[in-house]
């Protein structure tokens, strides 16, 4: 497995666990805005630490594979992931910024914006993993 596929898996799984927990909690329990921000911030810090530690451990196990610069295939895969995630972000921003204000307000919009960011990043990582698995190199 390519090194950058491994890091994409780590990031994707950590994101699903942390932000899955966040959006699950805020949809079930009534929370104050400060509590929501603290939860989101705390989970983001926890996610960052988990990804750094897991990547460091994987780098030690991977040896020289982890020390190399991205090559042309890695860059092609990364471009594909970013370009597809851009459309998710675009549709999300239009939905949250243009359509949602007619029906929602305040923290509903804020959380929807956070969800759009998380979804776009998750799609980017999914496309990266799928591109290595399925040999898609746009």
């Amino acid at each position: 497995m390519a090194w950058r596929e491994k890091t994409a898996w780590i990031t994707l799984l950590a994101m699903i666990a942390t932000y899955g927990a966040y959006f699950s909690l805020i949809s079930q329990a009534h929370m104050s805005p400060i509590a929501m921000l603290e939860l989101f911030g705390g989970l983001t810090v926890a996610l960052t630490i988990c990804v750094i530690v897991a990547t460091a451990v994987m780098a030690v196990l991977a040896g020289r594979d982890a020390r190399g610069q991205p090559d042309e295939r890695d860059r092609a895969v990364a471009r594909r992931g970013a370009s597809i995630a851009y459309y998710v972000l675009l549709v999300g921003v239009i939905s949250v910024g243009v359509i949602m204000p007619f029906e929602e307000q305040g923290w509903g919009i804020t959380n929807a914006a956070l969800l759009v960011l998380v979804a776009a990043e998750a799609v980017r990582q999914i496309v990266v993993v799928a591109s290595y698995r399925r040999s898609w190199h746009g």
């Binding site: 497995m1 390519a2 090194w3 594979d65 190399g68 090559d71 042309e72 295939r73 890695d74 040999s135 190199h137």
Partner: protein, 70 residues
């Protein structure tokens, strides 16, 4: 029109070049071992520059390494 595809002889030529490993070839041309494996298996078509680098590293002409076949 018949579908054509890019095939290559990298695996054979590596063997003939002193049993060069995928990692050694990758180091010579600046790509990872996994990318060489993907090219060999036809799962990734390299850029023209990388194709020339591979041919050069194996001491062959481009058309000896890569063929465009039906």
């Amino acid at each position: 029109m018949a579908e054509r595809r890019l095939v290559n002889q990298i695996k054979t030529l590596r063997f003939l070049a002193g049993e060069m490993t995928q990692a050694e070839l990758g180091d010579k041309i600046g790509v990872t071992r996994q990318t060489i494996a993907a090219i060999e298996q036809g799962r990734y078509s390299p850029t023209l520059e990388a194709a020339f680098r591979i041919a050069s590293a194996l001491g062959k002409r481009l058309e000896d390494v890569f063929q465009w076949t039906e």
